[in-house]
Assembly symmetry: C2
Homo-oligomer: 152 residues x 2
């Protein structure tokens, strides 16, 4: 995006916490996570359903799924200290928004990455939780290269 000026203040003092605890970034990231996951799920189900039916769907990715993904990716340092699941989910969303605004990954690239890393039967709620969590762990691990090393 050419909206990089939206993170100029964060970049002037860049740290893991500056990105991961920004509430505005989390709000923008919430919509990015829901959009990319919804399209990824639609594509995945369309490709992996025997009936050849086209599936269009939208699902909000639960806070718990995102919080667990942050922990499994070993990125709790991006969240505020004593962060609960809600805070940690916000942190994942803020990181995704930062990556998108700074043009490290486009919506299409995030979506394609999720499609590639989804697995299991997404029509089963239990399998979907594991599948979505795994895909977001992979995404966070991939994104690390674009993020600062200093914690705060």
């Amino acid at each position: 995006m050419v909206y990089n000026f939206l993170v100029k203040d964060i970049e002037s003092n860049l740290s893991q916490k500056a990105i991961g605890t920004d509430k505005g970034l989390a709000k923008i990231g919430d919509a990015i996570v829901n959009l990319t996951y919804s399209v990824a799920k639609s594509v995945y189900l369309t490709k992996n359903t025997n009936s050849k039916a086209i599936v269009r769907t939208g699902t909000k990715v639960g806070k718990k799924i995102l919080a667990e993904a942050l922990k499994k990716a070993g990125m709790k340092d991006f969240a505020r200290s004593r962060a609960d699941a809600h805070d940690m989910a916000d942190t994942v969303e803020a990181i995704v928004a930062y990556i998108w605004i700074t043009e490290k990954m486009s919506i299409k690239e995030i979506t394609d990455f999720l499609i590639e890393h989804l697995e299991g039967d997404l029509n089963s709620r239990i399998e979907e939780i594991a599948g979505a969590r795994g895909a977001f762990v992979s995404l966070l691990n991939f994104i690390k290269q674009f993020l600062p090393d200093n914690k705060s």
Copy 2:
């Protein structure tokens, strides 16, 4: 997007109602509307705030705002008959998703269009409702050229 196959069934029998009443498209469009409006609002407030502070924010666009935009754009025929505000908002979201999936407008183009057509003090809730409604009326009027003429 290169995900056009997600609307192959709709395109095989293309009509205003086929697009505007699709529940899956509405779910995908919900995230597109929220993402583009959130970024547009952030950019607009950052550019129009005297303090020069950078504003990052996210706002869900209310169902009532979208329903009124559909009516003002004269596009009620895209919704199901006897549609309530919720149905009509879903119709706007489905139309936006269709436009994006078929690559008529990118996320950036939708966002830039909203930025250009927003007006008023978005920090005032009343002015924001009018501003957001006006921007979506303009967007729908612009989008008409990409939509079919036949109703059903």
